[in-house]
Structures are given as C-alpha cells and as structure tokens.
C-alpha cells in the first residue's frame, strides 16, 4: 500500500506522538551525563534531576530575603505586561483594521504607512521608546504594541476587505449606516480572525517582552533569565523556558477554546 494510505492504529499513534519528546529527553540526558562526567560542577547542561529539584524550589520556596517566591512574581509581572500589550494591540488593530477595510479614505491614508511600519525592526528603536515612555511598565507594553500591531492590523484589514461585497451592499439596502455596518456586519465577522491573529502574534509578543525585560527591569520572566545568565544557572533558565512554553501553550489553548465557544456560527457548517 502507499505510505499515504497507511494509518497508525490508536496505541501506535500515541507512542509515535511521544517519540520525539522521549528522543529529545534522552539526547539531553546523555549530553548532560557526558559533561557532568568531565566536570561534576558543570552548569551548562544540568542533570534532569537537578532541573526537577530547582524547579520545585523555584515554584515553592520563598526567597530568603524578600520572603517572596520569585517565579510567581515574575510570572504575574510578565503576564500583566504581555496581556496589556497584546490587548492594546488587539484593540488598536481592530479599530484601524476596520477603518482601513471599510473606509476608502482611511485605506488611502494608512495602508501603505502600516505596510512600511511593519518592516521597521522595533528592537533597534528601544532608546527612543525609553525617552518617550520612560523605563517603567509603559515602554515594555509599548514595545509589544509596536512590535505586533502593524502585522495584526494588516491582516485584519485584509479580512475586512474579504467580507463579500454582497453583504455590505445588502446591509445598505437594509438601511445600515457606515457605523452600523462596521459594528454589526464587519466587526462580528472579523472577531474570530482577531483571535487567531492574537494566537499567531503571541510568539512575537513573548519575544519582545523578553527583550524588553532584559533591557531594564527588576521583575519578570525575561529579567530573571537574563539575570541568572550572569552565573550560567542553566537549571533556572531551563525551568523558566519550560514554564514559558507551558504558559504559551495554555494561553493558546484558551484562545482556541474561546474562539470555538464564542463563534458558533463559524462551525455549524453542513
């Protein structure tokens, strides 16, 4: 039979799905073993057991001095920044995207500007951002906003443009004003797309967040990673990397679920 027609049975499929994770884990363990053999104090690839211990400590034991558990503080601080930045971006891109998609005047004014904006490397502009927004939370949120809004806006505007012209005309024949068309016809139809855009942009948002926290901060996941890099505490770094991965996964899953629940009309197709 052709390979494309061969379908693994249920238990085999589960095993296959686990395979690459097992392989990565095994490769890491062996690498770690080899290095620790040569230098028992090697910090680059700590043993999995060390990572597990460190993780447990980071999640549960408060700091000696401040009596606070850093990991949770870092998580809350980073998530607040992330959600702030992504939320503002979502709102902005929705507003501008609707305007560009629906209004020819807005389209003429903004579409090429946003196309250019989306090509600017935001990290290089950090110094200017600092001056404009200070070193506090604002500039971190703004970096995320600048980093992901142009892309989201372009995509949303495109989706608004793809709403069949028939619907826009139909709404007009029912007496809808531009505002009603925006709110009642276009907005609900691009909301699902907004969510998938947010999902797509979250990777970049994390990146900008970590970069901003590395530059000036005293709490946050990115801050901690770059701080402990100063003494190559890879056990801490790896714990944080895994934790960020898990957080990213949960957020993605929540958004996917939200999208499915909130937009029943998307899926009730025949």
């Amino acid at each position: 039979m052709r390979l494309i027609n061969l379908i693994p049975a249920r238990p085999a499929a589960i095993f296959l799905a686990a395979l690459p994770f097992i392989a990565i884990f095994a490769a890491y363990s062996i690498g770690s073993d080899i290095r620790l053999e040569a230098n028992p104090q090697d910090k680059l690839l700590p043993a999995p057991s060390t990572i597990a211990e460190t993780a447990q400590r980071l999640f549960t034991e408060p700091d000696r001095r401040s009596k606070e558990i850093f990991l949770w503080n870092d998580t809350f601080a980073s998530l607040a920044r992330l959600f702030g930045g992504v939320g503002i971006s979502a709102l902005l891109s929705l507003l501008i995207g609707l305007a560009i998609g629906l209004l020819p005047y807005a389209r003429s004014t903004m579409s090429s500007f946003i196309a250019v904006l989306s090509m600017v490397p935001p990290l290089a502009l950090l110094p200017i951002l600092f001056i404009m927004f200070g070193l506090g939370e604002t500039s971190k949120v703004v970096l995320i906003v600048i980093g992901i809004t142009p892309f989201m806006t372009r995509d949303l505007a495109q989706r608004v443009l793809e709403i069949p012209q028939e619907q826009i005309v139909k709404a007009q024949t029912l007496g809808a004003s531009s505002a009603v068309i925006a709110m009642r016809v276009a907005l609900p139809q691009v909301l699902p797309r907004l969510i998938s855009n947010v999902r797509l942009s979250l990777g970049s948002a994390w990146l900008f967040l970590i970069a901003a926290e590395a530059v000036a901060s005293n709490v946050g996941l990115g801050y901690r990673i770059f701080l402990v890099r100063r003494y190559l505490a890879m056990d801490v770094i790896l714990t944080y990397v895994i934790w960020i991965t898990i957080l990213a996964f949960i957020i993605d899953w929540l958004l996917k679920t939200l999208s499915r629940k909130a937009f029943p009309w998307m899926e009730s197709g025949l």
Binding site: F130, L135, L227
Partner: protein, 330 residues
Amino acid sequence: AEEKTEFKLAWSIYVGWMPWGYLEDSGIMDKWADKYGIDVEIVQFNDYIESINQYTAGAFDGVSATNMDTLSIPSGGGVDTTALIVGDYSNGNDAVIMKGEGGLADLKGKPVNLVELSVSHYLLARGLDSVGLEESDLDGVINTSDADMIAAYATDDVDAVVTWNPLVSEITGSNPTANVLFDSSDIPGEILDLMVVNTETLAGNPSFGKAVAGAWYELMSLMAAGDEAALTAMAEASGTDLAGYKAQLAATEMFYDPAAAVAQSTSADLPTTMTSVAEFLFDKGILGEGAPSADFVGIAYPDGSTTGDAGNVKFRFDTTYMQMAADGAL
C-alpha cells in the same frame, strides 16, 4: 593535561581589553604564536557575559574578565581557572552617578539602575558600605542593560546609575548635572581586569601561556610609548576616537610593565579584596544555591596561600608568565 596546538581566547569591548582585538588584527599574536609553534585565535564578543559563559562551557581556552566575574561564573561553576595576565585595575572607570547635587547618603530611598550582579553592583555595595547604608535602604536596584544605560540615564525615571567606561564619560560628558558620587578610584585594586585561562590547559601547554604573555607585553610597551597607530585602532574599534580612548585610559591603571602586574598579584591586599568579593557574591546568591558559605570556592595566591575552601581551589593567581615577561625570558 593533553597537549594541543590550537587555542581560542574570547574578549569583549572594554577599555582595558581593547589590546586583545589589536593583537589579533595587527598580527602580533600570530607572530608570538608562531614563535612557540602554536595557533592562537582571539575572538570578539559583543556580549561580555556570553563570552564568559562560553569560556565556562568549554568553548574557549581563555577569556577577558574581571576578578569578580571569574570567581562567580567559571570558578563558581567548577572550572579551574588561572589569571594569566593582570592587565589593569579600574581606577575611576566604574562610577556611581547621580543626577544633581548630593552625596552617597542621598541615594537612600532612590532606585539605582545598574547591571545587576556585575562589578557595578559590587562598587555600589562598597560605596554604600562606606556611608553605612545597605542595598535595602535604596528603592531597589533595576537591572539595566549596559547597551542601553545612556538612553536610560536620559529618562526621568532614572535618579542614579552605576556603570563603567566608556559609558561613564559619555554620561558625564553630555549631562552637566551628572554627579559622580563614588568611583573605582576609591577602592583601588579591587576591580581587576584579567585574562583568565583554563588551569589544566595552561598546565599542559606552557607555550600557550608564553605566547599570550609575550604578545600582550609587546603591545603594552607600544602603548606605553604612545604608539599612535595602535591606540587609534583600539579607539576606533571601541567606537570612539583617540582622545576619547585616552580619556578612558586615564581612568584605568594599566600595568604596562609586567613587574607592576606581578606586584599587584602578589599584593597583600588581594586576599582581603577577594574575600569581600566572595562575600558579596554569596550574599547575592550568585555562587549557586549549592554554595554552603562564602568560602565555598577556594582561591590560591602566587605565594601558595589560599582563601576560602582549600580543598576546592578553582581560582588561581599565577605570576609565572608575567614574571617571565618582566624578566625578558619569553
């Protein structure tokens, strides 16, 4: 240890380390390496910490680092490391700067921006110590990347920074109200800029030590003589001009003469300095969670004495090769 013929050194941009880049570019290093039948490659890093990390992980045989970072990263990480060359000590290159009038005591209740856990942090701790303050008396320290320190200083959020050259002269030069409260000239000899190498590698390959020391002190004599070409090249590589570079050198106690470097290494103050550095590091948790106390890592001095755990010596000051240079024996 095994013998080998190819060696790699890492360095990053800092006034006292600029010679390393020039050694590679000018061919002086190659000349000395050829003399000893080996090959030495000198690689520049943009990111200082990354260069030390790479050395610690074994990707390099040596790296330019301060005494403090050597103790915390490679030595704390179990890599037995030797200070092959003591290049200089910071004599004003690192500074605590505040906006406006006042003294160290006025830092109380203010946030301070600095690269956390770096020599800046140490300098601040020493400064606060001198006026009877502690870090907890501040409104916290905010980790700020050195690359963005100048931009950070320009914002209203920042009251005080601790940083190093060329950033210090950049800040004091362009901000009339910048007020240096405390600098490394107040703690001479405590912030040492070194070339550290893997102890085992050095032990197995003395010619490596000889070649590097030979090349370094050849260039030192050129610099001491004010060689325009060399100084200009280094100035440009560090992103400034000759005048700017000379100003930075003025705040650096370069040991052009190997004998001076030997003297620094054998100075009686060194063990005291290293002990206070170790305590600082332990206090910040940098020596690792496994570190039971500040003397968890042992440090050996040229006279054979040690501080810290003598059974776990991972940091050695060794004057052998500097002495050879001083004796003209290379």
